[in-house]
Symmetry: C2
Subunit: 380 residues, 2 copies
């Protein structure tokens, strides 16, 4: 069986994702579609609108055969680490191809990776500009192109990870259908995930842009999980914990802990807090990720430790997926986990377990311990 | 000017407190009534129903002349430390007398203190009984009495602190008027503070048992501040923080950190949590205090450090109180603080400042920095 891999967040699963799955099958002629999916927190460090089990169910009901969790130490990361982590798992899952959307699928991303080797360190020394801005100034002067669209950036990162690690995986950038990521209105049958989340938060209808089961779940949401609800936890921790502990938090770099603490002392809402910590140096995504690392007390040591021990946590499969798992299970390099036992929650999957406990605040639903994978039986 | 001291929580201020103030004046013939009052958290480790400024206002409007905060490292403590801290401050405030309620005001508490010197260490070695139970078994065998009522226990503790430190203060135990502390119904014009809080939480009328201004404030409360609201903060901290940090928390003794963490992982409500951590060894009060130390990350070191640096934080006064402050200000031993500056909030008053930031969750009102004392002008 040949497998095609997808890198996903499904936040939430929508009609554009169905198109992505169909295209992946069509282009590669694969027998199996394997999705690596973020858990309960997105790349930007925000809680997902539905939990990972609900999103797995939606993926399986709409054409994915096997869903594997992208661990939080890979998922809540800047694009290059997110993409590298996802490709690392897909490579271990032995997919032959990966299909992904890009704003400019015809660009020669491999050539950009080559160009990056000629960047100068001095081009990154401005403290009042984000890393991305300085990266693009250099890329543009060498290739005439800039990576400003989020999926182009991911596309570049997949090529970079493939070339660096000499993966044999074939990469297929394709056009994204319908609305752009930043488009905030819902029209037709395709909308961006962020437009859908926005509509859900306003209790507007999203029936035409997501599969029925997802629409039903979204319509039940009273309050979209978000940072305003997590803010009391973040604020109290930033105020109470000694600065020397805050300095140990992953990515709490360059005196950011003082900025975070002071903002926490002054601001009673998350929107006020994040505005106060924002500088030209860091993107909102970077700052949001640090919020999540902080509220979970994820330290540099914990990330280093976890990063050297990846695993394949199976969230769900159908019969095709089960067959594929059977085919690869003896040759995968990383531990293949189906149920999380008590000992694993203190060990290998500890960060995901703790993320699940935090997410439980929104739903009350246990996320990991003894949770069986979603299994979709064939319906005739 | 001669001053009489009162040790108070005023949670909330009620008619029984007016009687206490009147009796204190009458018995001692003092010119000034000085109240040492817990801040925003009670001896049991619970948030107060009104903040310390509102309670100070009520005290001043009803006969107290000067209110000084009992710092959290003295206030949120078992009875003997609470009483010793309060008496330490009142001694420095140079009161000549202290008047307090007791269930058995005619008992010879000084004699009980003498009896305690003959207690055996072996009488405290049962791990399935609280300290108080074992204390009383010994006291009873020596004196025929048991200290089971909360105000008797405090009375004993005042005598013990006085004798130990050779304070010249005269102690006056008096009868408490009306309802007992544990009485949960409101009848007549006197009710216990706990009955009043219970009534407020049920939106029942409390007009007849508290002064009008307090009634007005209590009637505006939508949700009584309590541990259910703080639980998400406590729970997340217990789950996310390394066990070696939890072990540093003040009073997190004898492996309690494992018990707390496991209960946090399993329970989504505070009531479920506290039931799960309860053992015969510890009272609910002790366990609640540890919850507060935990959510504020108060360590053993922080309490040791703070305990050796007491201070007199003036919360409010009227003209009598101002005159008295003027009389004693040059001879008090501890720093006399009126406004808390930025540097003090990181130093001397840091624990109270942090308690205020936590309490701000309930009300949004800044508690310490630059907060002027409540000043009650004479109304003719």
């Amino acid at each position: 069986m040949r497998a095609v891999g997808l890198v996903t967040e499904y936040n939430p699963f929508h009609n554009g994702h169905i198109y992505h799955i169909e295209q992946a099958r069509k282009i590669t002629n694969a027998d199996v579609v394997v999705a690596v999916m973020s858990g309960n927190f997105t790349q930007r460090g925000e809680p997902t609108i539905l939990d990972k089990w609900q999103r797995t169910q939606a993926a399986l009901q709409n054409g994915v055969d096997l869903v594997v969790e992208l661990p939080i130490f890979m998922a809540v990361q800047p694009a290059h680490r997110f993409a590298a982590g996802a490709l690392e798992l897909l490579n271990d899952l032995q997919v032959s191809d990966v299909v992904f959307g890009a704003e400019h699928p015809l660009w020669d991303f491999a050539n950009f990776v080559e160009a990056e080797k000629h960047f100068s360190q001095r081009g990154f020394e401005k403290f009042n500009a984000t890393y991305a801005t300085q990266f693009n100034q250099q890329l543009s002067s060498l290739t005439g192109h800039s990576l400003t669209d989020p999926n182009d950036i991911l596309a570049f990162s997949y090529y970079k990870a493939k070339l660096k690690n000499k993966y044999s995986i074939h990469l297929h950038p394709i056009n994204r259908l319908g609305s752009q990521y930043h488009d905030q209105t819902i029209k037709g049958t395709i909308a961006s995930a962020s437009a859908i989340r926005e509509a859900v938060s306003k209790h507007e209808t999203i029936d035409q842009v997501v599969p029925k089961q997802t629409a039903d779940l979204l319509e039940k949401i009273k309050c979209v999980p978000g940072w305003e609800q997590l803010y009391p936890l973040l604020r109290n921790f930033l105020i109470q914990t000694p600065l020397e502990h805050l300095q140990q938090i992953y990515q709490m770099a360059e005196g950011l802990e003082h900025r975070y603490r002071e903002a926490a002392e002054r601001e009673l809402t998350f929107s006020g807090f994040i505005r106060r910590v924002k500088t030209k140096r860091y993107t909102y995504s970077r700052l949001l990720r640090v919020c999540l690392y902080t509220v979970m007390e994820i330290t540099n040591d914990q990330v280093s430790q976890a990063s050297t021990h990846p695993y394949l946590h199976v969230l769900g499969f159908n019969e095709q997926g089960r067959e594929y798992l059977h085919q690869i299970k003896k040759s995968v390099q990383y531990p293949l986990l189906t149920k999380i036992s008590q000992s694993e929650h203190d060990g290998l999957v500890n960060l995901d377990y703790r993320a699940g406990k935090l997410y439980q605040m929104f739903t009350g639903v246990e996320q990991d311990v003894k949770h069986a994978p979603v299994i979709l039986k064939k319906t005739n």
